[in-house]
């Protein structure tokens, strides 16, 4: 008890105390905890104060792994979010159909060729190097090797989805997200979407969304087109 007289160690103060009060962990929302920041500043503080304590480091590591696991579980569990508030009621008039009028347009072949010049200049500048997209999800922390099992499971699911997509895009080269998730329960559709994000992060698929219809289109990243290439020479 003699050591209790000494001032409380820094890591029992906020914000690091989160890592040392297990009974409180379950009540916290894991998304509100920035593990990377906590651990980095914990190490920094330890170096600064010279209070090197391997037990404390071990506990901190254990707690952050637990918080990380909680986050991962939430991500895959995906409890249905609360239903959105009901829209206010109002009289919705029928659509107004525009009268049809023929209208001559002013675009001539000259305009077409003026812009063609621009496009061809752009074509020369294009180096068709694939730029690697910025990771959409944060990289998993390297200090948490015990979560590899979970990542392996994700990779398995990614592989499954990837081969399914490869089958689906045959021909068109494109498949709509709505086609991929047709007849699938909402929760599974969300899971599929998360896996798609992982695939996109790896550059194995490309995603883009039509702003109007909100449809998401998926292509396989390594698609090669022979016919198009010939015509481009």
């Amino acid at each position: 008890m003699a050591s209790a007289v000494i001032s409380r160690p820094f890591y029992l103060r906020p914000p690091w105390n989160i890592l040392f009060e297990f009974h409180k962990l379950e009540k916290l929302t894991p998304w509100n905890i920035n593990i990377a920041y906590l651990l980095a500043s914990f190490l920094e503080e330890m170096e600064k104060t010279g209070q090197t304590d391997f037990r404390a480091s071990g506990v901190a590591l254990d707690s952050s792994a637990l918080i990380y696991l909680m986050k991962s579980k939430l991500l895959l569990k995906l409890e249905e979010p609360p239903p959105p508030p009901k829209p206010p009621q109002d009289f919705l008039p029928p659509p107004l159909f525009l009268p049809l009028r023929h209208e001559l347009t002013s675009t001539t072949i000259k305009h077409l060729l003026e812009v063609l010049d621009d496009v061809l200049k752009g074509e020369k500048l294009i180096h068709l190097e694939k730029t690697v997209a910025e990771p959409i999800l944060p990289e998993p922390s390297e200090i948490l090797p015990q979560l590899d099992a979970f990542l392996v499971e994700i990779e398995l699911q990614m592989e499954r989805l990837y081969s399914f997509l490869s089958e689906k895009v045959k021909g068109a080269g494109i498949v709509e997200f709505s086609t991929v998730t047709k007849g699938v329960a909402r929760l599974d559709a969300i899971r599929t979407f998360i896996l798609l994000l992982f695939l996109a992060q790896d550059g194995r698929v490309s995603l883009w969304q039509n702003e109007e219809t909100e449809e998401i289109y998926v292509t396989i990243g390594d698609l090669r087109i022979a016919e198009g290439g010939k015509a481009d020479s």
Binding site: P87, P88, Q89, D90, F91, L92, P93, P94, P95, L96, F97, L98, P99, L100, R101, H102, E103, L104, E211, E212, E214
Partner: protein, 200 residues
């Protein structure tokens, strides 16, 4: 070419004024050409400049005779007179559903048209209110409707207020005056509700 014009043609011919008849036919054709290519309402000034005359009276008479000719031909096209002495050539509404698939330009689908009619009916209305009532997808509709010049947005304090434009009123042949336009719209909605009922 029907009664109204024929009477005038007869009259001119009886007075041995062949050149006058020629001139009149030419003016008819010029007005028709102008209305056909413009595909929007033209005002008397624009029509005068096409006829190369300063007489609004003469131009008005001429375009009204052309309107009568179109009415007598009883076909798919009509020339309408809008407010402020503007005139437009267009397809009669009853033919729209029968031929709209031949139109080679993106027509608004039902979703944006519903958003448009809601904005027109409740204007001026905050964008937030439209989104609350119709859902988040209407941001896309609002963008398209703005691009087409059918609605305009303006800031009022911290919110965006939407209203229809003069171009919108012209397109539908509605009054530019908001209270009148809303009354006219109510009639349009009632009519379309009636039309819907027999063919559910």
């Amino acid at each position: 070419m029907q009664k109204a014009e024929k009477r005038i043609v007869d009259l001119a011919e009886s007075l041995s004024e062949k050149p006058a008849v020629e001139k009149m036919r030419r003016d008819f054709a010029l007005l028709e050409a102008a209305l056909y290519v413009a595909g929007r309402p033209l005002d008397l000034n624009e029509l005068c400049s096409i006829l190369k005359t300063r007489s609004k009276n003469k131009t008005k008479k001429c375009v009204k005779m052309l309107m009568t000719e179109y009415a007598n031909r009883n076909t798919a096209l009509e020339i309408l007179e809008l407010k402020d002495e503007r005139y437009v050539l267009q397809l009669k509404a009853e033919y729209t559903p029968l031929v709209k698939r031949l139109v080679n330009r993106p027509l608004l689908s039902t979703g944006p048209l519903k958003t448009l009619s809601y904005i027109a009916f409740r204007q001026p209305i905050s964008q937030k209110r439209v989104v609350d009532v119709r859902g988040h997808h209407v941001y896309g509709h609002i963008r398209v409707l703005k691009e087409m010049g059918l609605i305009a947005a303006e800031r009022s304090g911290r919110s965006l207020v939407l209203r229809t434009t003069e171009y919108f009123a012209d397109y539908f042949g509605l009054s530019h005056e908001m209270a009148t336009m809303k009354k006219e719209l109510t009639h349009v909605f009632e009519d379309s509700a009636k039309q819907e009922k027999p063919n559910p």
